[in-house]
Protein backbone atom coordinates (compact mmCIF):
# COMPACT_ATOMS: atom_id res chain seq x y z
CA UNK A 1 0.00 0.00 0.00
CA UNK A 2 2.79 2.42 1.00
CA UNK A 3 4.60 1.63 -2.22
CA UNK A 4 1.53 2.13 -4.34
CA UNK A 5 0.75 5.42 -2.64
CA UNK A 6 4.29 6.68 -3.24
CA UNK A 7 4.09 5.59 -6.88
CA UNK A 8 0.78 7.38 -7.35
CA UNK A 9 2.21 10.55 -5.80
CA UNK A 10 5.22 10.37 -8.10
CA UNK A 11 2.91 10.00 -11.12
CA UNK A 12 0.74 12.91 -10.02
CA UNK A 13 3.82 15.06 -9.52
CA UNK A 14 5.08 14.13 -12.98
CA UNK A 15 1.73 15.21 -14.48
CA UNK A 16 1.93 18.53 -12.62
CA UNK A 17 5.51 19.00 -13.83
CA UNK A 18 4.49 18.44 -17.46
CA UNK A 19 1.58 20.86 -17.18
CA UNK A 20 3.72 23.52 -15.46
CA UNK A 21 6.32 23.26 -18.25
CA UNK A 22 3.71 23.61 -21.00
CA UNK A 23 2.51 26.81 -22.60
CA UNK A 24 -1.06 27.88 -21.92
CA UNK A 25 -1.77 27.83 -25.66
CA UNK A 26 -0.75 24.15 -25.97
CA UNK A 27 -2.88 23.16 -22.98
CA UNK A 28 -5.95 25.02 -24.32
CA UNK A 29 -5.54 23.47 -27.77
CA UNK A 30 -5.27 19.87 -26.49
CA UNK A 31 -8.01 20.53 -23.94
CA UNK A 32 -10.44 21.55 -26.65
CA UNK A 33 -9.43 18.67 -28.91
CA UNK A 34 -9.98 16.18 -26.08
CA UNK A 35 -13.26 17.82 -25.07
CA UNK A 36 -12.32 17.77 -21.38
CA UNK A 37 -14.73 19.55 -19.00
CA UNK A 38 -13.41 23.05 -18.35
CA UNK A 39 -15.85 24.00 -15.60
CA UNK A 40 -15.02 23.57 -11.92
CA UNK A 41 -15.59 25.41 -8.68
CA UNK A 42 -12.69 27.77 -8.00
CA UNK A 43 -11.57 27.45 -4.41
CA UNK A 44 -8.60 29.76 -4.78
CA UNK A 45 -7.23 31.99 -7.50
CA UNK A 46 -6.13 31.90 -10.15
CA UNK A 47 -3.75 34.37 -8.52
CA UNK A 48 -0.21 35.52 -9.25
CA UNK A 49 2.49 35.90 -6.63
CA UNK A 50 6.19 35.37 -6.10
CA UNK A 51 8.44 32.58 -5.03
CA UNK A 52 11.98 33.23 -3.91
CA UNK A 53 14.40 31.02 -5.81
CA UNK A 54 17.11 29.41 -3.71
CA UNK A 55 20.54 28.28 -4.79
CA UNK A 56 23.35 26.66 -2.81
CA UNK A 57 26.71 28.21 -1.95
CA UNK A 58 29.33 26.59 -4.18
CA UNK A 59 26.56 24.59 -5.88
CA UNK A 60 26.05 22.10 -3.07
CA UNK A 61 26.50 24.03 0.19
CA UNK A 62 24.15 26.03 2.37
CA UNK A 63 21.10 27.56 0.67
CA UNK A 64 20.89 31.26 -0.20
CA UNK A 65 18.25 33.41 -1.90
CA UNK A 66 18.95 34.25 -5.53
CA UNK A 67 15.88 36.27 -6.52
CA UNK A 68 12.15 36.02 -7.11
CA UNK A 69 10.08 34.50 -9.88
CA UNK A 70 6.43 35.03 -10.77
CA UNK A 71 4.15 32.08 -10.08
CA UNK A 72 0.43 31.66 -10.71
CA UNK A 73 -1.62 29.21 -8.70
CA UNK A 74 -5.16 27.89 -8.69
CA UNK A 75 -7.19 25.39 -6.68
CA UNK A 76 -10.43 23.90 -7.98
CA UNK A 77 -13.05 21.36 -6.89
CA UNK A 78 -14.93 19.16 -9.31
CA UNK A 79 -18.63 18.33 -8.88
CA UNK A 80 -17.44 14.77 -8.15
CA UNK A 81 -15.45 16.10 -5.15
CA UNK A 82 -11.81 15.92 -6.28
CA UNK A 83 -9.69 18.96 -5.42
CA UNK A 84 -6.93 19.89 -7.87
CA UNK A 85 -4.02 22.29 -7.57
CA UNK A 86 -1.65 24.06 -9.88
CA UNK A 87 1.44 26.16 -9.27
CA UNK A 88 3.34 27.26 -12.37
CA UNK A 89 5.94 29.86 -13.23
CA UNK A 90 4.61 32.88 -15.08
CA UNK A 91 1.37 34.83 -15.03
CA UNK A 92 -0.95 32.72 -17.20
CA UNK A 93 -4.16 32.44 -15.16
CA UNK A 94 -6.15 30.33 -17.60
CA UNK A 95 -3.28 27.86 -17.81
CA UNK A 96 -3.21 27.60 -14.00
CA UNK A 97 -6.97 27.09 -13.83
CA UNK A 98 -6.99 24.36 -16.49
CA UNK A 99 -3.93 22.65 -15.00
CA UNK A 100 -5.67 22.57 -11.61
CA UNK A 101 -8.74 21.01 -13.24
CA UNK A 102 -6.46 18.49 -14.97
CA UNK A 103 -4.93 17.61 -11.59
CA UNK A 104 -8.41 17.08 -10.14
CA UNK A 105 -9.58 15.02 -13.12
CA UNK A 106 -6.43 12.90 -12.91
CA UNK A 107 -7.36 11.96 -9.35
CA UNK A 108 -10.68 10.55 -10.60
CA UNK A 109 -9.90 6.94 -11.64
CA UNK A 110 -12.60 7.16 -14.32
CA UNK A 111 -10.92 10.17 -15.90
CA UNK A 112 -7.23 9.49 -15.35
CA UNK A 113 -6.66 7.56 -18.57
CA UNK A 114 -8.24 10.28 -20.66
CA UNK A 115 -6.14 13.02 -19.01
CA UNK A 116 -2.98 10.98 -19.45
CA UNK A 117 -3.47 10.02 -23.09
CA UNK A 118 -5.24 13.05 -24.53
CA UNK A 119 -3.49 15.83 -22.61
CA UNK A 120 -0.36 14.83 -20.73
CA UNK A 121 1.15 12.33 -23.18
CA UNK A 122 1.25 14.72 -26.17
CA UNK A 123 2.64 17.54 -23.98
CA UNK A 124 5.28 15.25 -22.54
CA UNK A 125 6.27 13.97 -25.98
CA UNK A 126 6.71 17.53 -27.27
CA UNK A 127 8.79 18.46 -24.22
CA UNK A 128 10.99 15.38 -24.54
CA UNK A 129 11.56 16.15 -28.19
CA UNK A 130 12.44 19.77 -27.47
CA UNK A 131 14.83 18.71 -24.71
CA UNK A 132 16.54 16.16 -26.97
CA UNK A 133 16.88 18.75 -29.73
CA UNK A 134 18.44 21.20 -27.27
CA UNK A 135 20.82 18.52 -26.03
CA UNK A 136 21.83 17.52 -29.56
CA UNK A 137 22.41 21.15 -30.59
CA UNK A 138 24.60 21.68 -27.54
CA UNK A 139 26.43 18.40 -28.19
CA UNK A 140 27.37 19.68 -31.66
CA UNK A 141 29.39 22.43 -29.93
CA UNK A 142 31.42 19.94 -27.87
CA UNK A 143 35.16 20.37 -28.24
CA UNK A 144 37.03 17.33 -29.57
CA UNK A 145 40.65 17.73 -28.56
CA UNK A 146 43.38 16.07 -30.58
CA UNK A 147 47.06 15.86 -29.78
CA UNK A 148 49.70 17.25 -32.11
CA UNK A 149 52.74 14.99 -32.01
CA UNK A 150 55.97 16.97 -32.12
CA UNK A 151 59.65 16.04 -32.03
CA UNK A 152 61.56 12.93 -33.03
CA UNK A 153 60.23 10.14 -30.82
Amino acid sequence: MRGQEAREQAERKAVMATLAQSSGADIVRLWNEAGLPSEAELLRGPETGLVTVRGRIGGGGAPFNVGEATVTRATVRLASGQVGHCYALGRDREKARLAAIADALWQDPARRGEVETRLVAPLRAAQDEAREKRRAETAATKVDFFTMVRGED
Binding site: K13, G59, G67, H85, E137, K142
Partner: protein, 370 residues
Amino acid sequence: MYVAVKGGEAAIANAHALLADRRRGDRSVPALRLDQIVEQLALGVDRVMSEGSLYDRELAALAIVQARGDMIEAIFLVRAYRTTLPRFGYTKAIDTGAMLVERRVSATYKDLPGGQLLGPTFDYTHRLLDPELAAGGDVTEPLQRASEAEAMPRVSAILAREGLIEPDGDMPGDHVPGDITREPLEFPMARDIRLQALSRGDEGFLLALGYSTQRGYARNHPFVGEVRIGEVELELDVPELPFAVPLSSVRVTECQMVNQFKGSAKAPPQFTRGYGLVFGQSERKAMAMALCDRALRATEFGEDVVAAAQDEEFVISHSDNVQATGFVEHLKLPHYVDFQAELDLVRRMRAEHDARENADMLEEKKEAAE
Protein backbone atom coordinates in the same frame (compact mmCIF):
# COMPACT_ATOMS: atom_id res chain seq x y z
CA MET B 1 10.88 83.56 5.37
CA TYR B 2 9.85 80.34 3.63
CA VAL B 3 6.92 80.41 1.25
CA ALA B 4 5.66 77.05 0.00
CA VAL B 5 5.17 76.91 -3.72
CA LYS B 6 3.57 74.37 -5.97
CA GLY B 7 3.35 74.05 -9.69
CA GLY B 8 4.51 72.14 -12.69
CA GLU B 9 1.54 69.78 -12.90
CA ALA B 10 0.78 70.69 -16.49
CA ALA B 11 4.48 70.60 -17.36
CA ILE B 12 4.83 67.11 -15.85
CA ALA B 13 1.77 65.77 -17.65
CA ASN B 14 2.99 67.20 -20.95
CA ALA B 15 6.49 65.85 -20.36
CA HIS B 16 5.08 62.36 -19.83
CA ALA B 17 3.03 62.65 -23.02
CA LEU B 18 6.17 63.74 -24.83
CA LEU B 19 8.06 60.78 -23.33
CA ALA B 20 5.36 58.42 -24.66
CA ASP B 21 5.69 59.97 -28.10
CA ARG B 22 9.48 59.78 -28.19
CA ARG B 23 9.36 56.23 -26.83
CA ARG B 24 7.20 55.20 -29.78
CA GLY B 25 9.38 57.15 -32.21
CA ASP B 26 8.70 57.31 -35.94
CA ARG B 27 5.20 55.89 -36.44
CA SER B 28 6.11 54.58 -39.89
CA VAL B 29 8.46 52.09 -38.13
CA PRO B 30 6.56 49.07 -36.79
CA ALA B 31 6.16 49.00 -32.99
CA LEU B 32 8.23 46.38 -31.15
CA ARG B 33 6.37 43.36 -29.87
CA LEU B 34 7.38 41.86 -26.52
CA ASP B 35 8.03 38.45 -28.07
CA GLN B 36 10.54 40.07 -30.44
CA ILE B 37 12.42 41.45 -27.46
CA VAL B 38 12.22 38.18 -25.54
CA GLU B 39 13.54 36.22 -28.52
CA GLN B 40 16.02 38.63 -30.09
CA LEU B 41 17.30 40.76 -27.20
CA ALA B 42 17.36 37.79 -24.85
CA LEU B 43 20.52 38.75 -22.96
CA GLY B 44 19.18 42.24 -22.29
CA VAL B 45 16.03 40.59 -20.93
CA ASP B 46 18.23 38.34 -18.79
CA ARG B 47 20.09 41.30 -17.34
CA VAL B 48 16.83 42.98 -16.34
CA MET B 49 15.62 39.75 -14.73
CA SER B 50 18.89 39.28 -12.87
CA GLU B 51 19.27 42.81 -11.51
CA GLY B 52 15.53 43.39 -11.22
CA SER B 53 15.65 40.18 -9.17
CA LEU B 54 12.51 38.85 -10.85
CA TYR B 55 12.41 35.92 -13.25
CA ASP B 56 9.70 36.77 -15.80
CA ARG B 57 10.76 37.29 -19.41
CA GLU B 58 7.64 39.10 -20.63
CA LEU B 59 7.71 41.56 -17.75
CA ALA B 60 11.40 42.25 -18.31
CA ALA B 61 10.73 42.81 -22.04
CA LEU B 62 7.88 45.19 -21.21
CA ALA B 63 10.16 47.06 -18.82
CA ILE B 64 12.83 47.41 -21.52
CA VAL B 65 10.32 48.91 -23.97
CA GLN B 66 8.80 51.19 -21.36
CA ALA B 67 12.28 52.37 -20.37
CA ARG B 68 13.25 52.98 -24.02
CA GLY B 69 16.11 50.51 -23.59
CA ASP B 70 17.51 52.21 -20.47
CA MET B 71 18.47 49.07 -18.55
CA ILE B 72 18.67 50.58 -15.08
CA GLU B 73 15.28 52.27 -15.55
CA ALA B 74 13.89 48.89 -16.70
CA ILE B 75 15.39 47.18 -13.64
CA PHE B 76 13.80 49.88 -11.47
CA LEU B 77 10.38 49.19 -13.05
CA VAL B 78 10.71 45.46 -12.42
CA ARG B 79 11.76 46.00 -8.80
CA ALA B 80 8.75 48.25 -8.26
CA TYR B 81 6.40 45.66 -9.79
CA ARG B 82 7.76 42.94 -7.49
CA THR B 83 6.62 44.82 -4.43
CA THR B 84 2.99 44.58 -5.56
CA LEU B 85 2.85 40.79 -5.43
CA PRO B 86 2.31 38.47 -2.45
CA ARG B 87 4.98 35.88 -1.75
CA PHE B 88 4.02 32.21 -1.85
CA GLY B 89 7.26 30.89 -0.36
CA TYR B 90 10.88 29.88 -0.88
CA THR B 91 11.67 27.22 -3.46
CA LYS B 92 13.76 24.18 -2.66
CA ALA B 93 17.39 24.92 -3.48
CA ILE B 94 18.08 24.33 -7.16
CA ASP B 95 20.46 21.54 -8.19
CA THR B 96 22.86 22.93 -10.78
CA GLY B 97 24.41 19.46 -11.10
CA ALA B 98 21.12 18.29 -12.68
CA MET B 99 20.99 21.24 -15.09
CA LEU B 100 19.93 20.77 -18.72
CA VAL B 101 23.25 22.22 -19.83
CA GLU B 102 23.40 24.60 -22.82
CA ARG B 103 26.99 25.68 -22.27
CA ARG B 104 29.69 24.40 -19.98
CA VAL B 105 33.37 25.18 -20.08
CA SER B 106 36.24 24.70 -17.68
CA ALA B 107 39.55 26.54 -17.85
CA THR B 108 41.18 24.14 -15.38
CA TYR B 109 40.47 20.72 -16.88
CA LYS B 110 40.63 19.87 -20.56
CA ASP B 111 39.05 16.44 -20.24
CA LEU B 112 36.24 16.28 -17.79
CA PRO B 113 33.06 14.19 -17.59
CA GLY B 114 30.53 15.69 -19.98
CA GLY B 115 33.22 17.58 -21.89
CA GLN B 116 33.61 21.19 -22.92
CA LEU B 117 30.39 22.43 -24.49
CA LEU B 118 30.72 25.84 -26.08
CA GLY B 119 27.02 26.47 -26.61
CA PRO B 120 25.79 29.79 -28.01
CA THR B 121 28.85 31.87 -27.12
CA PHE B 122 30.41 35.12 -28.34
CA ASP B 123 33.85 33.65 -27.53
CA TYR B 124 36.02 33.08 -30.61
CA THR B 125 33.88 35.41 -32.74
CA HIS B 126 35.91 38.10 -34.50
CA ARG B 127 33.83 40.99 -33.24
CA LEU B 128 33.29 42.22 -36.76
CA LEU B 129 29.94 43.89 -37.41
CA ASP B 130 27.82 41.71 -39.65
CA PRO B 131 26.03 43.64 -42.41
CA GLU B 132 23.98 40.55 -43.23
CA LEU B 133 22.18 40.90 -39.90
CA ALA B 134 21.19 44.43 -40.88
CA ALA B 135 19.69 43.04 -44.07
CA GLY B 136 17.69 40.53 -42.01
CA GLY B 137 18.63 37.40 -43.93
CA ASP B 138 17.58 33.86 -43.08
CA VAL B 139 19.56 31.98 -40.46
CA THR B 140 20.31 28.28 -40.88
CA GLU B 141 19.26 25.76 -38.27
CA PRO B 142 22.09 24.75 -35.93
CA LEU B 143 23.75 21.36 -36.36
CA GLN B 144 22.80 18.52 -34.08
CA ARG B 145 24.97 15.71 -32.84
CA ALA B 146 23.51 12.54 -31.44
CA SER B 147 24.84 11.94 -27.96
CA GLU B 148 24.09 9.90 -24.93
CA ALA B 149 22.82 11.98 -22.05
CA GLU B 150 25.99 12.21 -20.00
CA ALA B 151 26.26 13.15 -16.34
CA MET B 152 27.99 16.50 -15.89
CA PRO B 153 29.26 16.73 -12.32
CA ARG B 154 30.42 20.15 -11.16
CA VAL B 155 34.17 20.61 -11.54
CA SER B 156 34.49 21.43 -7.85
CA ALA B 157 33.51 17.83 -7.11
CA ILE B 158 36.48 16.56 -9.17
CA LEU B 159 39.03 18.67 -7.27
CA ALA B 160 37.39 17.75 -3.99
CA ARG B 161 38.45 14.12 -4.45
CA GLU B 162 42.06 15.11 -3.92
CA GLY B 163 41.22 17.15 -0.85
CA LEU B 164 43.05 20.16 -2.27
CA ILE B 165 40.02 22.42 -2.46
CA GLU B 166 37.73 23.74 0.18
CA PRO B 167 34.25 22.18 0.23
CA ASP B 168 31.04 23.93 -0.91
CA GLY B 169 30.26 26.69 1.56
CA ASP B 170 28.43 25.45 4.64
CA MET B 171 26.66 27.48 7.27
CA PRO B 172 25.99 26.39 10.87
CA GLY B 173 23.25 23.73 11.05
CA ASP B 174 20.54 26.00 12.49
CA HIS B 175 21.28 28.87 10.10
CA VAL B 176 18.22 30.21 8.28
CA PRO B 177 19.15 31.81 4.94
CA GLY B 178 19.00 35.60 5.31
CA ASP B 179 16.79 37.64 3.00
CA ILE B 180 17.68 41.23 2.13
CA THR B 181 14.16 41.80 0.80
CA ARG B 182 12.85 41.24 4.32
CA GLU B 183 15.55 42.47 6.71
CA PRO B 184 17.76 45.57 6.51
CA LEU B 185 21.44 45.10 5.66
CA GLU B 186 23.72 44.67 8.68
CA PHE B 187 27.49 44.44 8.66
CA PRO B 188 29.36 42.19 8.96
CA MET B 189 27.01 39.86 7.08
CA ALA B 190 26.96 36.12 6.48
CA ARG B 191 28.10 34.80 3.09
CA ASP B 192 24.60 33.69 2.07
CA ILE B 193 23.27 37.24 2.44
CA ARG B 194 26.26 38.65 0.54
CA LEU B 195 25.58 36.25 -2.31
CA GLN B 196 21.94 37.38 -2.50
CA ALA B 197 23.06 41.00 -2.73
CA LEU B 198 25.73 40.19 -5.33
CA SER B 199 23.33 38.15 -7.48
CA ARG B 200 21.09 41.21 -7.94
CA GLY B 201 24.04 43.63 -7.98
CA ASP B 202 24.95 45.88 -10.88
CA GLU B 203 26.91 44.02 -13.56
CA GLY B 204 29.16 46.97 -14.33
CA PHE B 205 30.01 47.60 -10.68
CA LEU B 206 30.82 43.94 -9.98
CA LEU B 207 32.77 43.69 -13.23
CA ALA B 208 34.94 46.67 -12.29
CA LEU B 209 35.58 45.29 -8.80
CA GLY B 210 36.36 41.83 -10.16
CA TYR B 211 38.74 43.42 -12.65
CA SER B 212 40.41 45.37 -9.84
CA THR B 213 41.22 42.11 -8.02
CA GLN B 214 42.94 40.82 -11.17
CA ARG B 215 44.98 44.00 -11.47
CA GLY B 216 46.41 43.56 -8.00
CA TYR B 217 43.91 45.11 -5.60
CA ALA B 218 43.31 41.98 -3.50
CA ARG B 219 44.89 39.61 -5.98
CA ASN B 220 43.64 36.06 -5.51
CA HIS B 221 44.91 34.08 -8.53
CA PRO B 222 41.59 33.03 -10.04
CA PHE B 223 40.85 30.27 -12.53
CA VAL B 224 37.45 29.53 -13.97
CA GLY B 225 36.92 26.05 -12.61
CA GLU B 226 33.67 26.01 -14.49
CA VAL B 227 30.98 28.13 -16.06
CA ARG B 228 27.71 26.44 -16.87
CA ILE B 229 24.50 27.81 -18.33
CA GLY B 230 21.22 25.97 -18.62
CA GLU B 231 17.81 25.23 -17.19
CA VAL B 232 17.15 23.99 -13.70
CA GLU B 233 13.82 22.87 -12.30
CA LEU B 234 12.13 24.68 -9.45
CA GLU B 235 10.08 23.01 -6.73
CA LEU B 236 8.08 24.52 -3.92
CA ASP B 237 6.91 22.91 -0.68
CA VAL B 238 3.25 23.78 -0.12
CA PRO B 239 0.99 22.69 2.74
CA GLU B 240 -1.79 21.41 0.47
CA LEU B 241 0.32 18.74 -1.25
CA PRO B 242 2.29 15.83 0.21
CA PHE B 243 5.18 16.44 -2.22
CA ALA B 244 7.12 19.46 -3.47
CA VAL B 245 5.16 20.93 -6.38
CA PRO B 246 7.13 21.34 -9.64
CA LEU B 247 6.93 24.90 -11.00
CA SER B 248 8.74 24.51 -14.35
CA SER B 249 12.33 25.59 -14.93
CA VAL B 250 14.47 28.73 -15.09
CA ARG B 251 17.71 29.42 -16.93
CA VAL B 252 20.66 30.32 -14.73
CA THR B 253 24.40 30.86 -15.11
CA GLU B 254 26.76 29.41 -12.52
CA CYS B 255 30.46 30.16 -12.10
CA GLN B 256 32.87 28.21 -9.92
CA MET B 257 35.97 30.32 -9.53
CA VAL B 258 38.97 28.45 -8.13
CA ASN B 259 41.63 30.50 -6.36
CA GLN B 260 45.14 29.54 -5.38
CA PHE B 261 45.73 30.14 -1.68
CA LYS B 262 49.13 29.82 -0.04
CA GLY B 263 47.72 29.17 3.38
CA SER B 264 47.52 31.25 6.53
CA ALA B 265 47.33 30.86 10.28
CA LYS B 266 43.70 29.86 9.74
CA ALA B 267 43.91 27.41 6.82
CA PRO B 268 46.49 25.18 5.06
CA PRO B 269 47.59 25.77 1.44
CA GLN B 270 44.74 24.77 -0.88
CA PHE B 271 42.43 26.05 -3.54
CA THR B 272 39.72 28.33 -2.23
CA ARG B 273 36.59 29.28 -4.11
CA GLY B 274 34.32 32.08 -5.16
CA TYR B 275 30.79 31.39 -6.32
CA GLY B 276 28.52 33.10 -8.80
CA LEU B 277 24.90 32.27 -9.62
CA VAL B 278 22.62 34.58 -11.60
CA PHE B 279 19.32 34.45 -13.47
CA GLY B 280 19.53 34.02 -17.22
CA GLN B 281 22.56 33.74 -19.46
CA SER B 282 25.26 36.08 -18.17
CA GLU B 283 28.66 34.58 -17.60
CA ARG B 284 30.32 38.00 -17.29
CA LYS B 285 28.11 38.77 -14.31
CA ALA B 286 28.45 35.29 -12.79
CA MET B 287 32.26 35.46 -13.10
CA ALA B 288 32.44 38.97 -11.64
CA MET B 289 30.18 37.85 -8.80
CA ALA B 290 32.45 34.88 -8.08
CA LEU B 291 35.55 37.12 -8.01
CA CYS B 292 33.83 39.51 -5.60
CA ASP B 293 32.55 36.64 -3.42
CA ARG B 294 36.10 35.34 -3.02
CA ALA B 295 37.58 38.79 -2.36
CA LEU B 296 34.93 39.44 0.31
CA ARG B 297 35.98 36.29 2.16
CA ALA B 298 39.34 37.84 3.07
CA THR B 299 38.80 37.86 6.84
CA GLU B 300 37.58 34.26 6.74
CA PHE B 301 41.02 33.25 5.42
CA GLY B 302 43.02 35.65 7.58
CA GLU B 303 43.98 37.85 4.61
CA ASP B 304 44.67 41.56 5.06
CA VAL B 305 41.79 43.76 3.96
CA VAL B 306 43.59 46.30 1.79
CA ALA B 307 41.42 46.83 -1.29
CA ALA B 308 37.94 48.06 -2.14
CA ALA B 309 36.79 44.66 -3.43
CA GLN B 310 37.47 43.14 0.02
CA ASP B 311 35.51 45.77 1.91
CA GLU B 312 32.12 44.20 2.52
CA GLU B 313 30.32 47.35 3.58
CA PHE B 314 31.72 49.27 0.60
CA VAL B 315 30.87 46.57 -1.96
CA ILE B 316 27.44 45.50 -0.74
CA SER B 317 26.24 49.02 0.10
CA HIS B 318 27.02 50.23 -3.41
CA SER B 319 26.23 47.19 -5.57
CA ASP B 320 22.51 47.86 -5.98
CA ASN B 321 21.98 50.06 -9.03
CA VAL B 322 18.39 50.94 -8.14
CA GLN B 323 19.50 52.41 -4.82
CA ALA B 324 22.51 54.02 -6.46
CA THR B 325 20.54 55.63 -9.27
CA GLY B 326 17.87 56.80 -6.83
CA PHE B 327 20.36 58.66 -4.68
CA VAL B 328 22.44 60.06 -7.53
CA GLU B 329 19.45 61.06 -9.66
CA HIS B 330 17.50 62.67 -6.82
CA LEU B 331 20.09 65.46 -6.98
CA LYS B 332 18.33 66.86 -10.05
CA LEU B 333 14.99 67.25 -8.25
CA PRO B 334 14.19 70.69 -6.80
CA HIS B 335 16.46 71.59 -3.88
CA TYR B 336 15.46 75.27 -3.96
CA VAL B 337 15.02 75.64 -0.20
CA ASP B 338 18.15 73.63 0.69
CA PHE B 339 20.13 75.71 -1.73
CA GLN B 340 18.65 78.99 -0.48
CA ALA B 341 19.79 78.10 3.04
CA GLU B 342 23.27 77.22 1.77
CA LEU B 343 23.40 80.46 -0.20
CA ASP B 344 22.57 82.50 2.91
CA LEU B 345 25.23 80.64 4.84
CA VAL B 346 27.93 81.15 2.20
CA ARG B 347 27.02 84.87 1.93
CA ARG B 348 27.35 85.26 5.69
CA MET B 349 30.67 83.39 5.80
CA ARG B 350 31.99 85.46 2.90
CA ALA B 351 30.97 88.72 4.65
CA GLU B 352 32.71 87.60 7.85
CA HIS B 353 35.78 86.55 5.86
CA ASP B 354 35.95 89.92 4.08
CA ALA B 355 35.46 91.81 7.33
CA ARG B 356 38.31 89.83 8.91
CA GLU B 357 40.61 90.53 5.95
CA ASN B 358 39.85 94.25 6.04
CA ALA B 359 40.53 94.32 9.76
CA ASP B 360 43.85 92.49 9.24
CA MET B 361 44.84 94.94 6.49
CA LEU B 362 44.07 97.94 8.67
CA GLU B 363 46.10 96.38 11.47
CA GLU B 364 49.08 95.84 9.13
CA LYS B 365 48.90 99.42 7.83
CA LYS B 366 48.79 100.73 11.38
CA GLU B 367 51.85 98.66 12.34
CA ALA B 368 53.74 99.81 9.22
CA ALA B 369 52.93 103.45 10.02
CA GLU B 370 54.27 103.10 13.57
